[in-house]
Structure formats: C-alpha cells, structure tokens
C-alpha cells in the first residue's frame, strides 16, 4: 500500500508552552478529562516516533502534532528551532479527515518538552510549513491505476484474436447448414470398442446430407453428442463422445447436425490463458505482442541424434534442445521436418522432459508418433477413426487395456506363489516356533569354557606326571646311603601325587561337563540349521532368501530375517491380491495416470484443449508444433500456452490457414466489407507472424530437399525460397512417357471452344462460381490411366470442385476403385504434406480475359508442384496463364514456362494421345 510520506529529522524536536496554553488547557481538560498534560503528550511522541512516526498535519502557520489520544496545535518559532504549543485537544472526526487527507509521519532522535525557551538546547529543528492539509472533497473513489502500455497492448491483441475466432467460426458455419435428421429406429452396433463411449446405428427416415466425421447430437438430449463414423444408405452410425445411457436415446426422434463450438471454445480458452498470464510459457505474450525474443543461449552441441541428420537438421536439433522460449524451423517441401522432429523428441525424452507433439492434422502427428521408438511412452489422443492404424495402439483406451493385461500376465506367477502366505501357514508357524537358534555368543563362551577346562585338565595331568616322576626319583634312591630319608621323601611325594590326581580328576570332570555343554549347544544349532534350511527352501519361491550355514551366527541371522520376512510375505500376498483385483476392473481407471505419466503426447492442436482427452491438468516441457505454417494463431496458441517452451516447424511459403480469397469471399458474403486487420489475422499463421519478427538466432531453414527431382526443386527454390533450397536427391530416370521430370502440357494448341473453361455458378464455398475444363479433364484422365497401368503412385491436383467432380466421375468409371480416386484426386489443400511418384496439376482456367481466380494464391502452386518425387505434369492453357491479369502469377507462370523449356519438356496437348499410344505399343 502507498502510505503517508515519511520524514526523518536528524535533530531533536523541542516543544515549549505557548502564550495561551495554560488557559486553553484548563478549558479543554475540563471538557475532556482524558486529555494528558502537554508534557505527557510530548513524552508519548517519543514512543510514536520510534514505532511508526509522529503524524503531523498542516494548517497555514499552524501544525497539528498527534499523540495517542490528543492533538497538539503548535507554531514554529521565528528561527524555526522550536515549537510553541498553543493548544491541546482531543482527536476529533475533523482531525481524522485531515490525517487521511495528507499527514506526514515524522521521526526524530528526540522529542523534548521544555518549560522555557532558555532551556532549549541549540541545534533543534521543526518542520517547514506546507500548504494546508485539506480533506478531499471528492466522493467517488479515485480510479485505480489503469493497465500499463504492455498490458493494454496484450488486451488489444487478445481482443483481436477473439474476433478472429468468431470470424473463423462463422466461416466454418457458412460452409455447413443446420439440418435435422429424423430417424425411425436405433440399433446397437458391433463397432470396435476401445473405450466406454457408446456406438449406435440410427435408421434415418430419409438419406441425410451428412457424412463421416460430422458431429451430431440428439435433438431431445443435446448433451448426447457424437461423431458420424459411417453412413450406409439410410443407416447412420454414430460414435458418441462419452458413455451413453441407452435408455436416454428415444427409439424414434431427430438428430441434429452440431454446430462445432469445440474449436472456438478451445481457442478462446487459450487466448484467455495468454491474457490472464496463466500460460506455462511466460514469455509468450512478450514474443507475440511485442516481438521481443530473449537471447538464445549457445546450443549444447554434444547431444547426438540417434539417426543421422544433415547440417541444417542438426543445427535445428541443437538449437531446439537449448531454446529457452521458442524456436522457429522452416521446412520447405521434402526437407525432413518429420525426421528432425522425431530425433528432437527422442532427445528431449531422454532428458526426462515431457513433450507435446501437435499439429494441424492427425496425419502429421501420426507421422511423428509412428517413427518414435517403442521405448518411449507415447500417448495419442484424438478421434480414433481418424488415426493411422499404427498409432491406434497408443490411444488411451488401447494403452490402458494393454498395460492392464501386461500387468495381469506379469504378476500371475508371483500372485500364485504368494497366495499361500496370505494367511498363517501351520507348518511355517510350527517351524518358526521350533526355530530357537543358540545365541552365537553363548556357544562361543561354551566353547571357550571347554578349551579352558581342557587346558586345566592338561595342566593337572602334567602335575600328576611330574609328582609321579619325583616319587620315582625318590624311590630309586631309597636303596642308597640315605635310603631311609628318601623313603620318607617318596612317601611324602606319593601323598602329593594323590593330591594332584584328585585335582586332575575334578578338572577332568569339569572338562567333561564343558564338553557336554558345547555338545548340547551344537546339537541345538544343528537342529535349528535343519529347520532354517527347510524354511529357506520354502520361501525361495517368493523371494531370494539369504544363505544359511551351519554356524550359530548364520542361523541366528536367518532366524532374524525369516521372522521379518514372513509378515512381509503376508503383506505382499495381500497387496498383490488387491492389485490384481483392482486391475480386473475396467481399464478406464488407469486413464488419468497413463496420461500423466506419458513422455510424449501426440494430438492435434485443438485436441490438446478438448476436455475428453484428459490433458487439462497436464503441463509440458516442450511443445513441438508441426505444420505450423498452416495453423491459425488462435489454434497455435492452444499447445503453446500449455508448454514451457515451444518449437514451431512449418513453412509459411506453403498454404496458410485460410487463403486470402476464402476470407475475402466470406467478408463479401457476410457484407462485412474489407477488413485488412481481420484478413491478415485470419489468413496468417502464428508461424508466419513469428518467423517474420524473430531474430536470426531463433529461426532456421532446413535447406536440403530430398523429394523432388532437381529440375523441379530448383524452380521451387528460385521462386519461393530465394534460391536457398538445394536438392540432395539422386537423379532418377523419369517414367517413360516423357523424357523429363518436368512436363508442361499446353492446351493452347486446341481450338478455343475446345479448350475453354466452363463456369458453374455458386459451385464453390460462399457461392463463388466454380470452373471445369473438359479438355484438361480428358488429358488428365488419360495420364492417370497411363500411370496406373505403370504402377506409379499418382495424384491429380486441380483448383476447382467442378473440375474435381468431372475428373472423379470419369476415373471412377474407368478405374472402378472409388477409394483409389478419393485418395489421389483433390484440391491442393488435401495434399499439403503428402507426396507421390507423379503429380498431375491441371490449371483449369482457359479464357481470353486472363482471369485466373483461385490461382492467384501463388502458395497453392508451390504446394501443388512440390509433391512429386519423380515427375510433375502441368496441364494448362499457356496463352491464358501467360497473359494472366494477376501480375505476380503472370510472372511466375512465365518463369515456369521458361524453366520447363530449358530443363523439362513443353508439349502440345495434341501430342499426348500419340505418346500414350506409342507407350502402349512399346509395352511401357
């Protein structure tokens, strides 16, 4: 809090009585008996001064000095060295207002009262007068401090993002109309179930305008919401988001196509996290709003990837490992983005970090997840029907089931072995009762005593022998001159022998007793050893018991161990029983922990924020966002706010989130007019926004492509990457129909009426007119038939729905394989990230005006021509395209024609049939 101003005086403050004080004081104390004397009040000031300061307010020449329960009205002396106390009074409400309005707190080394001026020491001080302390007259609280510039900028930025979220939702909604789908019956299905989410088949009253992937909800119970997984005639199969009580589904009713509120809700939460400062990456707001990046510390180049990376990839790998906040990796087509991400993910996991791999599409996430080694604990979240077969094993349902089964399998033997121990085993209890091993100390003492006793016997027997020897010596000399004397000596010594023998006898008895004691202990030891050995064998199935030897110490140690171990076996038996019983329950119970303990989580960006994916409480050390150039900023934020740092991998020279044309069409459609800021935010990815503001240290280009033949790669490099993209692909022989990897089939040789485009009103999104081109469609169909015969992977990319439909109809009837056609025919958007041996691109537009429509988005062309591994065949009217009204496209196309002329093949459309016929003849 902001408190009152504090003043520290270096010298004491002295008070003397003013001229009228005595009279005033008498009056005041008569009315307010609690008032102290001025001397006492000044004394109080000393303690106030040291505690918090003495409050002082100003009133012209007067100053009010506040003690605990009174206020002194004082004036300064002319010299300013002393205060005259003129009045004393209670602290009234008026004083409280003055105090609140502007008091200062004063501390000084001394607060002294002096009766006369003459006793005032030199060098004392008072406060200079100040403007009168006036109670404020304002009645409304002063406004608090407003947001600072940085906060204001953040709020503005987030408000703009909120607007784009709403606009994107409207664009999405504009492409889908609400529809009711009445159904006549509901039936159970035999759908694959990996979670408890219900799957039911709804028999529609009439075929509905709905396809797989659409979200529907029950009109009568909107909380029952699911995704259409199949439409078979009039039978619609719906996989619900959660477990569903079948009784809540009426046998007849209506389904409603859901408005997709999930995406805007998830995006809005991410924006809120950014605005509220709860992003796990605290630098995010600074980076996004101010474009201010913290310096990058020098990368640790000791880390090695498990697989070889080229120079650029390795540099990205090292910088990403040490990036404190964010790193931007630009990966043009075929430059090994996925490989780099995989190696980075492995290295991060090895360092114990939790990694989020997110992208715009499930396919891109799966590409990374599929390549991670099995040792990495991976969790893949998302709609299972959209995941690749290979990664479905990593969904939470599959993971939990697998873990549960593995545990049950691995613990079955242990549970069986421990089961008998769950209650006391009579034989073991009896053995334990009989297991009373001798105290090793006692046995040692007994053995020591036996040795001592044996030694005593030896000594005594030696004494007996010595005495007997001496008797013999005396007896031998009895026959001599002094035989009589020696006879007496011999007798005497004989008595000594008897005494020695008696002593030896008792020593021998003692020794025998000692021997018996030792033997008894040994016998006990042997008995206990035998019991221990048997017990040891018994417990060997449940643990690795200690060895037991036939020594008192070993048996005693075993005894101590087994007495601790048996209750533990009981505890373990109970524990393993409970564990297995727990795991016999549905595996859903493991979901939260398996999510929490995952090392890598793979998800679409939006999936990270979807509640049912259980990621709400999970923080990540690093978020790696692939395809970031295609992801709107509001969506990119979803993974970014959940991780402490981020690596964005993408290419802003390929398709952006929404192509400008789409946004402008929507703006026209909704009569919102042109809105530059909105168009910019909607059509620019977070990646593009960041990479254009990031310093060089924070961005890196993967500059070696391994997909396209050099002839195509060089053109792409020159036109879209400033010549910084090199080709590392070995030169391959192109498919035999043409001599070069790059072919331009020019339809300008055909009559204008034959080669012309046809307009289809309202055929595209937002009722924008579409176009088809019968001549180009025929040429493309011929080419596809040829490549299909040759067994080549092919793709046909055209810009308009009408042209797609025309080619699809022809190909389906010619090839007889609808799924093959679906997988390989489409607009550019469907192919970003993909690759094929041969790509056929049809421009479609052919008119004398030079109108090119969608083609004006040059990044579409970049994506289209950079998908091919062996050959790119471009089909188009060079007259129209080379004279396009759109200057950038015109320049690019002319460069393409020139490049194809020098490094590829430019053919007239009329030549194709002959070439194909010849190829057929020659058996190609």
């Amino acid at each position: 809090m902001t408190g009152p101003e504090t003043i520290r005086l270096a010298r004491p403050v002295v008070f003397v009585p003013g001229r009228n004080l005595a009279e005033q004081m008498m009056k005041a104390r008569a009315e307010h008996a609690h008032l102290p004397t001025p001397q006492a009040a000044v004394h109080e000031l000393g303690s106030l001064s040291s505690a918090s300061g003495v409050p002082v307010t100003f009133d012209g020449q007067w100053q009010n000095v506040y003690a605990h329960r009174c206020v002194l009205g004082v004036r300064r002396s002319r010299q300013g060295d002393v205060y005259y106390v003129e009045r004393i009074g209670p602290i009234t409400l008026r004083h409280h207002r003055e105090l609140a309005a502007g008091a200062v707190l004063v501390s000084a080394p001394g607060w002294w009262w002096r009766d006369t001026l003459g006793t005032v020491p030199a060098g004392c001080v008072t406060l200079e007068p100040r403007p009168r302390t006036r109670p404020r007259t304002t009645t409304t609280p002063a406004p608090g401090p407003g947001p600072g510039p940085a906060e204001t900028a953040l709020r503005t930025f987030c408000a703009a993002l909120d607007e784009t979220i709403e606009a994107a939702r409207q664009i999405e909604a504009a492409t889908a109309g609400a529809a009711f789908l009445p159904y006549l019956a509901v039936s159970s299905t035999a759908a694959t179930r990996t979670t408890t989410a219900g799957v039911y088949a709804f028999h529609l009253a009439r075929p509905g305008q709905v396809g797989p992937g659409a979200w529907v909800e029950l009109r009568a119970a909107p909380d029952l919401r699911g995704r259409v997984v199949r439409l078979d005639g009039a039978v619609l199969t719906v996989r619900f988001a959660n477990a569903v009580d079948r009784r809540r589904i009426a046998d007849q009713g209506e389904l409603v196509l859901s408005a997709n509120t999930v995406i805007p809700n998830v995006q809005s939460r991410a924006v809120r996290a950014l605005r509220d400062g709860t992003s796990r990456n605290p630098a995010l707001a600074r980076i996004l709003v101010d474009g201010a990046f913290a310096p990058l510390s020098p990368p640790d180049r000791r880390a090695r990837p498990a697989e070889d990376l080229d120079t650029d990839q390795l540099e990205a790998f090292h910088r990403a490992l040490s990036a404190p906040e964010i790193l931007l990796v630009q990966g043009p087509p075929g430059t090994g983005k996925t490989r780099t991400i995989v190696e980075l993910t492995r290295a991060l996991v090895a360092r114990g970090e939790r990694v989020l791999v997110a992208s715009h599409t499930h396919r891109a996430v799966d590409n990374v997840i599929e390549r991670l080694p099995e040792s990495v604990r991976v969790l893949r979240v998302g709609d299972e029907s959209k995941l690749s077969a290979q990664v479905r094993q990593y969904t939470i349902g599959a993971l939990a089931s697998r873990v549960q089964q593995q545990i049950l399998d691995l613990t079955v033997a242990r549970a069986q072995h421990l089961a008998p121990w769950s209650s006391p085993i009579p034989a073991v209890e009896a053995a334990l009762a009989r297991l009373t091993p001798p105290d090793p100390g006692r046995l040692a003492l007994a053995e020591q005593a036996e040795q001592h006793a044996r030694h005593a016997v030896d000594v005594r027997l030696a004494e007996v022998r010595r005495c007997e020897e001496r008797v013999l010596q005396a007896t031998a000399r009895k026959r001599g001159l002094l035989g009589f004397v020696f006879g007496l000596v011999a007798d005497h010594r004989g008595a000594a022998v008897n005494r020695a023998r008696a002593t030896a006898g008792s020593a021998t008895a003692e020794h025998r007793a000692a021997l018996d004691a030792v033997a008894a202990l040994r016998t006990e030891l042997d008995r206990c050893h035998e019991i221990a050995v048997r017990l040891r064998a018994r417990v060997a199935s449940v643990t690795r018991p200690p060895e037991v030897e036939r020594t008192a110490a070993s048996v005693a140690a075993f005894d101590a161990w087994i007495r601790r171990a048996v209750p533990m076996f009981r505890a373990r038996a109970e524990l393993i029983g409970d564990w297995r019983a727990q795991l016999a329950q549905p595996s859903d119970q493991l979901h939260p922990e398996l999510v929490r303990y995952a090392e890598v989580v793979g998800s679409t960006c939006i999936g990270v924020g979807v509640g049912r994916n259980l990621l709400a409480d999970l923080d990540f050390d690093v978020a790696i966002v692939d395809e970031a150039g295609q992801i709107p900023l509001a969506t990119t934020l979803v993974p970014l706010v959940r991780a402490r740092r981020a690596v964005l991998v993408g290419d802003h020279r390929q398709l952006p989130p929404l192509v400008d044309d789409d946004v402008r069409a929507w703006l026209r459609h909704t009569a919102k007019g042109e809105s530059g800021a909105l168009v910019e935010l909607l059509s620019t990815s977070g990646f593009e926004r960041l990479i254009t503001t990031a310093p060089d240290s924070h961005r890196i280009l993967l500059g070696r492509q391994r997909r396209m033949p050099k002839e195509i790669g060089d053109f792409v490099s020159d036109q879209f990457y400033g010549g910084r993209l090199s080709t590392a692909t070995p030169r391959r022989r192109p498919p035999a129909l043409f001599d070069h990897p790059l072919v331009l089939l020019n339809t300008a040789d055909a009559r204008p009426t034959l080669r012309a485009e046809r307009r289809w009103e309202g055929n595209e999104t937002f009722q924008v007119p579409g176009y088809d081109n019968p001549l180009e469609a025929d040429l493309i169909v011929d080419l596809v038939q040829h490549y299909e015969r040759c067994g080549r992977e092919w793709a046909v990319i055209v810009p308009y729905r009408a042209q797609i439909q025309r080619i699809r109809t022809r190909l389906e009837s010619l090839l007889g394989d609808r799924s093959l056609v679906d997988a390989n025919l489409g607009s550019v958007d469907a192919f970003q990230g993909g690759e094929r041996d041969v790509v056929v691109y049809g421009f479609t537009r052919s008119n004398p005006r030079g109108d090119i429509g969608f083609l004006s988005e040059l990044r579409r062309l970049n994506v289209a021509i950079s998908r091919s591994k062996e050959q790119l065949v471009l089909v188009g009217d060079v007259d129209t395209l080379g004279n396009a009204r759109h200057p950038e496209f015109r320049a690019l196309f002319r460069a393409l024609v020139d490049h194809a002329g020098r490094h590829g093949q430019v053919l007239r459309s009329g030549e194709l049939r002959a070439l194909i016929a010849e190829a057929l003849r020659s058996g190609v």
């Binding site: 409050p55 602290i91 409280h96 105090l99 373990r572 564990w579």
Partner: protein
Amino acid sequence: MTEILYPAYRAVEVAAGVPGARPLRLLSMLLPVWRVEVATTVREAQPYEVFDRFLARGIDQAGLDTPASLALFFGVEASLVERAVGFLTTIGHVARTDDTVSLTALGRQSVRDGCRYVIKEDRTILYFDRLSGGPLPQSHYTGINYQPHQEQRGFRGLTSMGPPFQAKALDALVGRRDRAAFNLPDGLTDARLESFDMRWIPVHVVETRSDPRYFVFSGATAGRDRHLERVCNASPVFLDALGAEPAPDHEQIWRNWLDSRGLHSVRPEYAASGVLRAVLPPESFGPGAVFRAHRPGTFEPYQQSFLQLWCADERIRTRAAAERALMMLRSGAVRTAQDLDERLHHLGVQLEVRTPSPNQVWNWAAERDDQVALSALEQIF
C-alpha cells in the same frame, strides 16, 4: 450510485425500539480495518488413483524400497514406475536417496487413511479492525461493502496513524481455538502474512443514553452489529473522536427543516421515549400531502439528528401500519409467519397502535388488491 450501506433511518428505528435506549444522535462513519492477505497450507484429501496408491502401499507395507523392485513386483514398466515415483516425490509422499525410496510422514499418513493428501498453498483475505487490532468474525465477510478509501459522501472516516499491521495479531488468531469463527478454518495451517492494506467499513452509529453508549449498525447483521459495538465502545480513538463532536442543536435543526417544508406551526417535541417528534395533522399524510401515507412513526435523519414523524390520529397511524406491513411483504423480506408476527408487533409498538394480526394484513392486501402482497402471504402460510 450504489449505496454502500442501507439507509440510516433503519438504524434509528431499531435503536429507538430498544427499551430504554433513548437515541440521541446519528453518525454515519467509516471504521478502519486491516485487509490482510494470508498464505496458508492446506492438506487436501484427494482420492488415490491406481498406480500411486499401490506403489505407496508397496513401499510402506511390502518392503519394496527401489523403483526396480516396485516395477518387478507390480509387473509395471520401469519407466512408468519412475514417472509415478517422481509424481509421488513431487507431491511430498516419497523421499528418494539415490535409488532407494521411502515414504514421508505425509505418504505414510495417506496410505494409512486411504486417501492422497496433497499439500497446497492457499491464499485468503482476513480482516482485522484497526481500533482493537482483533480479527473480524466470519459474519463480517459477507454483507459488508468494504471501502478502499476513507472519503465517502455522508460518511466520516476514522483513521489511525499507528504502526503497520503486526504479524503477532495473525499469530494470536492462529492460536485461538475458535479461529474458524474468524474465517480461518482449522484446515488452513501454517498461516503466513503475505501483505496488508487498509479498508473501511461503512457503519451507522447511533449515540444513546444507554449502555453501551454507541449502537453500531453495519451490513454484517440484520440489526445491531454487536461485535463492532464492543470494539467501538472500548476504543479510545473512537470514543475520543465522537466524544469531541459538538452536540447538535436538535430543536433548531428540525425547526428549520419543518419551516423549509411549510410546516411553520409544527414544533418538534420530545416524546416519552426520549425521541424528538414532529406531531403533524392528519392531512399531512397521504396521497398529494407533504408525506406519504406510510410515514407516520418513521424517522427522518438529518445532520446527526433525527426526527420521528407522528400523527395524533390513531386511524392515520393504523393506516401507516397497513402500508408498511404491505411494503414489507412486497419487498420479499418476510419469509415465515413468526417473522411476520415479530415485524407486526414491532410496527404496533412503534406506531402505538394495536398489533395488527395476519388476518388484518390479508384484509388490507385484499382491499388494495395488492396481488404481490397476497402472493407473499400465501407463500408464508
């Protein structure tokens, strides 16, 4: 502008209704309080999940003291056990030394109680009044419109230039056995002072001739605020400030007030209850008159003083009782028959008329076709 406290006349009405209170004057004040942010530790009991419960049991009961032995025993991948042990370590259940793990006291307690205790830091705001330094009871955490400034129109602020908030006041609260009554439940432990600043409680203070001398009315309770009343009547700062306020010349104030409304012939007079009254003729009340029909018996606050509007005609006072009874019902404030009885009794006493019965109120509502009041009565009975 939103009012920061209910109107002062309601406080006067209550004070006047206290037998022998003899209200003297009225002040609307702002009392200083400390707004103290306190960090505490909360031990939250969460349900165990699967791995964490069994791993903790394994360590506690089965002598499994390494991640490897846990992984082997439970048949779980070592990396998963490592993560789970890491989680248990993070929440303070497991202590790890090199490769050996053991349960902490918190972990053992959790296993024993079968729930996962998690220690969390909680932040909460506590209020301490500045006059006594004591904590405010839980009743003062709702209903009070705490003000961040000392200046508000119509209110006079008390300040205190004493020392800043003392942590020992918080320690004293923590040590109280009845601390839950002061908004610090027992579950919040290890309370630490984080920050503090000042706030002000708006109150109406009615000075009386009774004991206590000052009745205090805040939004915390429906009637008198007994807690703040005790604090204020024992506070030298409060007593000095109010004691030093010059007594208003009540009669002069109200003479002027009545004159300004054209009631020159009316003179304020003291009633037997000690309150100042203006006895007005019956034509002064009702539609088109100076005062509305419900005003007899009500108080008019003005310049620290208040005046009861009165009419000698009992029919006029009875009509006022009817109007006010119906107003109470329309406001939705009356929920039970007992509450209604009490309020009607209070009305009877205040207006010196026979206590209206609920039946009488039904009739009044029916006569006026007051559907809202009728509906309220139906709900009560």
